[in-house]
């Protein structure tokens, strides 16, 4: 078990390191130089050169990478070119925002979609199954920009019941923040619903067909108990891991939703950073997303292994 976890953590660290290499060197394809993008098209070349030197972007790439990555490891994420200030507060604020939105979306979508998946599984091939499957499919295929605009118009403008902007005033209470996050989370809920429900359904169908479910039924246990105690316990565990793999998308992939709802999440932050050639911001942002993603997968792995005695107790016979 400890070995298992240690190996996972080791792998995650290697993955993060590769990720850092990818962002760092891929970021170099961005045209023009950072100083030009800070100072504008009209600035004289001498000023550009001076600023480039000050930013250190005229040093050899490997040196830059080394300085950056060693700084990062020591908790120094570097300075933003755009804001000429440490990147860290921007990243952490945006990350907090993103995590909040992801949390709200998860809190809504996980119960609904698991319920949907289980109900579908219990009715395999019958009307509820078809309806849930097709609805889920359809919901998860509507691009966010379509569903987002629809909910804004319906709930924000016509019905005027929910705030259409996800940004709350400073010092807003947690319930107030959640209240602001309901609308933005709807497109995410729609997209994730079909996906998670599908997983939950597949897992449950498999568990229902298993020998141990048969044992439970043939013991004479009531159906409800069989499902709760024997089926769901095993069928939902893999779903947990699947949910974790969605955190990458939920944290970093919401550029459109964040734009639409004017929400300062990390997706938008790094997208802007890429546009502004703010390398330190871009790199730190992508790496932070990577870290969150890895941590989520690790937690899922951990939960999985806790819920799965086969791993928890090693494989010793």
């Amino acid at each position: 078990m400890a070995l298992y976890i240690a190996k996972r953590v080791g792998y995650a660290l290697i993955t993060l390191w590769i990720l850092s290499l990818i962002v760092f060197f891929a970021g170099q394809v961005l045209p023009g130089d950072p100083a030009r993008s800070i100072l504008g098209q009209l600035a004289p070349q001498s000023a550009i050169n001076a600023l480039d030197h000050q930013l250190g972007v005229d040093r050899p790439l490997l040196t830059q990478y080394w300085d950056w990555i060693t700084g990062f490891v020591h908790g120094d994420m570097g300075n933003s070119y755009q804001f000429r200030a440490p990147v860290e507060p921007y990243i952490s604020a945006a990350l907090q925002h993103s995590l909040k939105l992801a949390a709200v979306a998860f809190v809504i979508v996980v119960p609904i979609s698991i319920l949907g998946g289980v109900v579908a599984a219990l009715n395999v091939g019958r009307a509820p199954d078809r309806i849930i499957t097709v609805l889920g499919l359809s919901a998860s295929t509507v691009p966010e920009f379509v569903s987002g605009i629809v909910v804004i118009i319906v709930f924000g403008i016509w019905l005027d019941v929910l705030p259409i902007s996800a940004s709350w005033s400073p010092g807003a209470s947690i319930p107030d923040q959640v209240y602001h996050l309901i609308l933005p989370s709807i497109p995410l809920v729609l997209i994730l619903f079909g996906y998670i429900a599908r997983m939950a359904r597949a897992g449950t169908v498999e568990a229902l067909d298993s020998d141990y479910a048969r044992t439970a039924v043939l013991k004479g246990l009531p159906r409800g108990v069989v499902i709760r105690r024997h089926v769901l316990r095993n069928s939902l565990v893999p779903t947990v891991t699947v949910i974790a793999t969605q955190t990458g998308y939920l944290i970093g992939g919401l550029v459109i939703v964040e734009t639409l709802f004017n929400y300062q999440g990390i997706g938008l932050l790094i997208y802007k950073a890429a546009q502004e050639k703010d390398f330190p911001m871009l790199e730190a942002g992508v790496l932070s997303i990577g870290i969150v993603y890895m941590v989520a997968t690790l937690i899922a792995d951990f939960v999985y292994s806790m819920l799965n005695p086969r791993i928890r107790f090693g494989a010793s016979e």
Binding site: T15, T133, V146, G248
Partner: protein, 294 residues
């Protein structure tokens, strides 16, 4: 062993022949309602993509600056957009880029992902460990950022979209193929091949590949749906085909801002087109995997 000694098991095939199995699968597909509905929609859009403006009542590019943002009417079934162009015609003509890019990108991703997945699964060891880490790292990158980098390097175009989506799909498909290969490589026919002295490429492509084609096919059909979604989203961000060519995602992106002004038709119809196409592709994918796996 002589001719006089007749085979012990005189009867021939137990199971149906390959051709017959294919025919049966097709039969099953054609009798599945979801498949038929999906296929009809996809065929409809494919026709639009092929014939394009020939089917459209108006020139999809024809502007009329004095009749912009007209509501749907007899003359313009879906109304006109902010340059006075016929939305219906643009929806018809807009099928083309997405219907070329999405399957092509998926195909590229599938081919590369299959090759990578085969190598990871079969060669295992270091190849697998290293490739798996890279795959994980790429998967942790937000797609929009990947797309942005490619667009910067290659310029916005359908070709760029194809490459981006193919690139993003490669690791995803590689993961699926890898896990299929992992269970396949434990089978004894692989050992048998090694006992004939076969080389790795032969084993990967001639022995294993045909056996993992089924999950790959299922993955492919499912991925086409995601590809359509992705193409629409990236076109929405302006990474795809350039105006004035009609394109659903791009048309939504230039017009969605006007929904609040009441010009819903400019956005709604391309959005419905996207939704119908993705749902149709998913219906097909669903029934194909149902038939193959069930």
């Amino acid at each position: 062993m002589s001719a006089a000694n007749p085979p012990v098991e005189a009867a021939g095939a137990l199971d149906a022949g390959v051709g017959q199995v294919r025919r049966e699968l097709l039969h099953q597909l054609l009798h599945s309602k979801t498949f038929v509905i999906g296929a009809v929609i996809v065929i409809f859009w494919a026709l639009c993509a092929l014939l394009g403006s020939a089917l459209a009542p108006h020139d999809p590019l024809g502007q009329n600056l004095l009749a912009t943002n007209q509501r749907p009417s007899g003359a313009h079934w879906f109304g006109t957009d902010q340059l006075g162009r016929d939305v219906f015609s643009r929806v018809i003509a807009g099928a083309r880029s997405i219907l070329i890019v999405a399957p092509l990108a998926t195909l590229i991703g599938t081919v590369l992902g299959t090759a990578l997945g085969l190598a990871m699964g079969y060669l295992s060891g270091w190849t697998d460990t290293v490739a798996s880490r890279i795959v994980e790292a790429v998967l942790a990158l937000p797609v929009v950022i990947i797309a942005f980098l490619f667009v910067v390097a290659l310029g916005p175009s359908p070709r760029t979209l194809t490459i981006v989506i193919g690139f993003v799909f490669t690791p995803l498909i590689a993961r699926t193929v890898r896990s299929a290969v992992l269970s396949e490589r434990e089978l004894d026919y692989i050992a048998a091949a090694r006992l004939r002295g076969e080389r790795s490429p032969y084993i990967m492509f001639a022995e294993i590949l045909p056996n993992v084609l089924q999950p790959i096919l299922v993955e492919f059909t499912v991925r086409v749906g995601y590809a359509i979604f992705a193409v629409a989203t990236l076109s929405f961000l302006g990474f795809g085909i350039q105006p004035p060519t009609a394109d659903w995602g791009a048309d939504i992106s230039v017009n969605y801002a006007e929904i609040t002004a009441g010009f819903w038709w400019e956005t709604l119809f391309p959005a419905l087109a996207i939704a119908s196409l993705v749902v149709a592709v998913n219906l097909i994918a669903d029934s194909i995997s149902g038939v193959l796996e069930g």
